[in-house]
Symmetry: C2
């Protein structure tokens, strides 16, 4: 079934202990849609400027991603500049140029309004609410957010959280959102706001997936070379939602959610192996299946 | 089979966001021996002062721990004073009073010299070497160490590492020891020094267990209330080595090492539920089995 994502498409300028790149393609919707495209038909909602590379747009189209919701606006594409030190779990922002994203007011193409699976990427919660209002009875809605919105827009953020099924969020951010350091308590607090499930992203430590009465802990893949963690969280979300959307439409069981978490983890583990979307563009279903098996081998024990 | 541990027995004074305690019983050998005592016969080598509570010594004896290697010396027991902030992964030391530990020069009781399983707790690497020299052909030797010895005694530390089978070490400390931030590379570097296996303790993120060609990732149990992380690493090591020693003596397989890791994780998850050894003293085999099942439920997925 179809999966809609709204989020940023961007240029990223990144410095890490392993190299430096200038204005490479990034953005949450870019990573998410590429990751999900291996599993389900994706509908993208975003905006880029005239400077955004036509080859990237062609590449996304080749991956079968529906781009009717992509607006090409006068002006420059969103630009993020940041760096990582040895602790790749922490992204330090140097500069954020919103550019065409500043006036982004997405109107969904008619064909998008019936999309059953929806991912509200990390953008202004007022835009997230706006998108949600344009979709007729979605089956499953998840959102991501970040410290910026937790601090600047707490009212609309709570309102949109109240209306989604799943919150996908970083460890530091769920702590900030809830004022609870303990993740089990923090997740429980989010669930009292409305959602049924909380997926806490912990970078190189993996993911904690919580619902009422169940907890699932997924490690990240212990890679020997992590090149660039940018986009790992969005790739995770793309694999996670992509697997859920790939199913026949029956309500997912706990085991379906767990396997979705592992699809997300597997695809994210490729993203960090190179700068930008390089590694993510050329995956095969076989690559993903092999990485899933590697995750099984990584976590298997018998009592 | 028998399991020897050498390490500290101490008073701990601890402040955390969840409370404050003065001079409660702690120390690596205390936690290790209690944890291991649920699985295998333990022989303890340590020193305390005259001020150490007789009730604790009686409690250890009641748990079947062999105390012939415990010296009661003139003077005061080792005292650690520290605190935790919300991030319970980081212990901040305020004061370390070595006291009777200063002149600790352990001579093993004769009956201890044939012990097949040995754990060299986090003490001066010269003492670790000294103990090791007194044991006749052990089957399996593991050691723990810390930043203090990495900085102050790198020569003897390398010498003892060269002579053990397994290094059990904190994430920050293996990075410091090897100069490698990436844990897979850091573990590989330790394995080039001599050991076959490296167990990296990552606090609330669990454990990464590495050998040549195999990696096992074990989560920590996501508890809603973590009271005091002091002793969690030593309890982990006690459960880990205790399980290995509890077997019939055949060389452990990869799956045995994994189950040992889970025994360690299960027992450590009890330790943090209370200050000092309180929770660890009154466990049953049933408690441990139930927690192991909970770990299985926490990590299980099918592809």
């Amino acid at each position: 079934m179809s999966l809609l994502v709204v989020g940023s498409m961007a240029f990223d300028s990144i410095k890490s202990p392993f190299g430096e790149v200038e204005r490479v393609v990034g953005g949450s919707a870019t990573y998410f849609s590429l990751a999900a495209s291996y599993l389900a038909p994706v509908r993208l909602v975003s905006v880029v400027g005239r400077d955004f590379p036509k080859e990237t747009i062609d590449m996304l189209r080749t991956r079968g991603i529906d781009l009717r919701g992509l607006k090409i606006a006068e002006g420059d594409t969103f630009h993020w500049k940041g760096y990582y030190e040895y602790d790749l779990n922490i992204a330090h922002t140097v500069k954020t140029e919103l550019n065409v994203f500043q006036d982004f007011a997405p109107v969904l193409p008619d064909a998008y309004r019936e999309t059953p699976y929806v991912f509200l990427g990390n953008i202004d919660p007022r835009l997230q609410l706006d998108i949600l209002a344009q979709i007729r009875s979605p089956k499953l809605v998840a959102l991501d957010t970040m410290n910026f919105w937790i601090e600047k827009s707490p009212g609309p953020l709570r309102e949109v959280i109240r209306n989604v099924d799943i919150v996908v969020i970083n460890e530091a951010e769920i702590r900030e959102l809830t004022g609870e350091f303990n993740l089990v308590r923090a997740a429980r607090k989010v669930m009292t706001m409305g959602p049924d499930r909380v997926v806490v992203k912990r970078g190189e430590y993996g993911v904690l997936h919580l619902s009422d009465g169940e907890i699932f802990a997924a490690p990240a893949y212990p890679l020997e070379t992590i090149f660039d963690p940018t986009g790992a969280g969005d790739s995770f979300a793309g694999g996670f939602m992509g697997y859920l959307a790939s199913r026949d439409g029956a309500a997912p069981t706990e085991m379906d959610y767990r396997l979705a978490t592992m699809y997300g983890s597997a695809i994210a583990s490729f993203t960090v192996e190179a700068f930008s979307t390089e590694r993510l563009e050329g995956l095969t279903r076989d690559d993903i299946a092999t990485r899933l098996e590697a995750f099984l081998a990584l976590t298997r024990f018998t009592v």
